[in-house]
Amino acid sequence: MKIIFFFIYIFVFGIYSYSQKSEELIPSEAVTVFSLNNIKLLQKISLDQLVQYEFMEELQQELFDGSTKEKTIRDSGLDFDQKLNVFFGKNRNYLLSGITFGVSNESNLFAVFDDFKPVESYYKDIKWYDSYINSLLIKNNIAILLRVEPNSQKVDFMTDSIWYAQGNSSPWEYWDEDYKEAPIYGEDSALVSNPEEEMNNDTYNSEINMKNYYELRDSIQFSLQQFYEKQVLDEIFIQNKRLIMTDNRFANQLSHETEGSFYFDYSRKIEKSGDSFYFKGIMPAIYNNIDELYSENIILGDLVLIDNHLEFRMETKYNEKLGAIYTKLGDTKMDKNVKKYIHKNCPAFFVYKINLKEAYEKAFEIVMPILEKETKNVDLITNALVLDLLNEFIDKDALFDTYKGSFFGCFNGVKKISTTKIEFIYDEETFDYYEKETEAEEDMPIFTVGISTKRHEVPEKILNYLSKIASSRKYKQLRYINNQKGKEYYIMEKAIFNSAPLYMINKNGLFIMTNDEDLAKNYSNGYEDLAISTKELKKTEKGGILYGKIDLNSTVNLFPRDILSAKENELIDALRGKSGKIEITTTKTNEQCTDLNLVYDFKSENDGPGKHILDLINAIYVISR
């Protein structure tokens, strides 16, 4: 779900920018690009409405700071015949983000982008505007809005190097509560008569000695930002080194006649283990270091809109080695018992089926030779040693039979759950009061998650030991319940938010955790006739590793209002009354690629598809964050 949301999120950013041949201005260092080909869909949406979306608020508040009042996207000066492209990139030196788009009316554009002021341009026929942190460059009728932020670790490193080389002591020793009231560097700061002017001097020169640590850091950050921004812009406007020219796959993706397209070059992404959901659980430290494994790893996608049917079609491509691991990962069948625990009226569920053991074996076979070649990187060699030893010592059969890797999850609506509260009881004689624990009820979303296991005795052992440990505690006591009708489960009192019980069911090859009292007490063997139909799960059985389905209407309507802020409720309200369904499917994984499709069927009589798309994306953002 996380990766799906990521794609959607990227798409939303894409909605903002746009261009005709505007794609030609995308820097080659962009790792992620979303291009919205048909931004006419959004032209009726007011800018005020747009900036109200929570996802926009965080990203675009600097751009739309009151200048959007009573304007629609149509009024923003964008050229609707061009694509709007949003891009992100990160390398070891800097973080890059921005949008490229076509411009039909510059005065309208600057009525919205009113923080930008013209500055002298280094490039022929290019108009250059700056705001506090962004640059906007316009070439004929296309524009790029660019932000370059130097790698903060690099900035820290350079600042520390210069700071200590000057013979200064640690700046952090003054970092205590008194620091603000009695600044150590008060006199030094006073010597810098105009910090802004100082920064504009572009370098840390002889006056550097007068700067305190933070001023020095600011100067270095500013200088690096200028340096890297120039590097990026030189590549675009002088060297003609742009993404569309450096990556044919991107150029090819843009040629698709769809509503939008998506490009994500995972092989160039830094910090891969951060969101590599496949390997996060296996060998994260090692996978983070093996660029070789990720070469040619790219995700390409299309957004297709047909009537009330919105579809994201994504294809993940990879090299043979990674493909071999992925293939093993997906080489499993759906656990038939999962079906028993998904209620036929369940408004949202997902099933994730992987073969962790096979994937581990294949990964070990592929990765170890790569690691064994390493002779210098101490971290990597250490990781390799640990991995090799673990592989020798651990009983992998026991481990992977206990946790096979497959799991499922359901949202079963919102129910009143029994909790306790403290009441103050008053003595009528004196009005003295004392505390008394009494029964209470609260609304709670009901969730169920379960993993497949061949070794049910292992969780059983853990639960038995835990129940003994917990027996002396006032809170979170763990008990085994057998109601003599074949219904058995464990219950941990006050496990959730110190108030609601958590139930655990360990049978039928599944270990299930849920806060659904009904499931635990009445259906611990499964829902039987009330379970989801085989037909409903057919796609899960035939498809790849992930299948998910959300009845948007039921889910949104059931979600408790009072745990959301007023603003979030507004957004959820925007989806209420619309009967939409989201379905996520994946194809069987092979050695070259995996396809992932997200289909959203919506029914909306009043709003255009653009509004619907934004509402959906925003709701997912609100719910998922």
Binding site: I422, F424, E429, F431, E442, I496, F497
Partner: protein, 224 residues
């Protein structure tokens, strides 16, 4: 006091509909006494726990539990250092979300002054607020007047009607205790204890939002 109510009462009020507040003040013959203030959110544990996980609410940054505890401790330290205040205790129950503040004071004026100063020590902007001059209790030896601050109507405007209705589940209890019998009190809703040395006045939080004066009370002691 308004600010402490804002911090200890007002915020939780809007974080949860099921808040219980007990504002308990005991007065001795020499004007000294004991002040106890209890906030009970135990009937909304799920909701409070959920809200504590939010980064922001209605566009404002949400404090996390450690931050809230730090603020409370700062307040406690500041209050304990005030002249005329002693025996300051703050108990927090993180599981049930109950906060109990208690302290002894030399006289009513010292109590009010100390609370204001303590609040100012954790938020210097309070001094500039008109609320800073607000006094919620007075005592002249025979007549005792109590009130609670106005609730911020601006904040309430952001609440939907259905949310306001949920405030019906919350309560604010005002207890005043004395060293000798009570003769009478002005507020018709108040109850006098059988011992006639304590007065209790209770309102639900919804009613308070509609009429902040319903907890105002003037209590007259026997002159014998």
């Amino acid at each position: 006091m308004r600010k402490i109510l804002y911090i200890l009462l007002f915020l939780p009020l809007f974080l949860t509909s099921c808040i219980e507040i007990i504002d308990d003040l005991s007065l001795n013959a020499d004007g000294s006494g004991t002040f106890k203030y209890t906030i009970n959110l135990s009937s909304s544990k799920v909701k409070v726990n959920t809200l504590l996980k939010l980064d922001s609410l209605n566009g404002k940054k949400m404090m996390k539990l450690p931050e809230i505890k730090t603020k409370i401790n700062q307040f406690k330290t500041a209050l304990a250092s005030q002249p005329g205040i002693s025996n300051v205790k703050i108990e927090t129950n993180d599981i049930e979300f109950i906060i109990k503040l208690s302290c002894d004071f030399k006289n009513i004026e010292k109590l009010q002054e100390s609370i204001k100063n303590s609040l100012a020590s954790i938020d210097s902007e309070i001094k500039n607020s008109s609320d800073f001059s607000f006094n919620w209790v007075s005592w002249n030896g025979s007549k005792f007047e109590r009130s609670i601050p106005d609730f911020s109507q601006n904040q309430l405007k952001d609440l939907k009607a259905e949310d306001l209705n949920l405030l019906n589940n919350g309560s604010y209890t005002l207890i005043s205790r004395f060293y000798k019998p009570i003769n009478k009190c002005d507020n018709q809703g108040a109850s006098i204890s059988k011992s006639r040395t304590a007065v209790m006045l209770k309102a639900n939080t919804y009613s308070l939002t509609k009429n902040t004066k319903i907890l105002e009370n003037t209590i007259y002691l026997d002159q014998k």
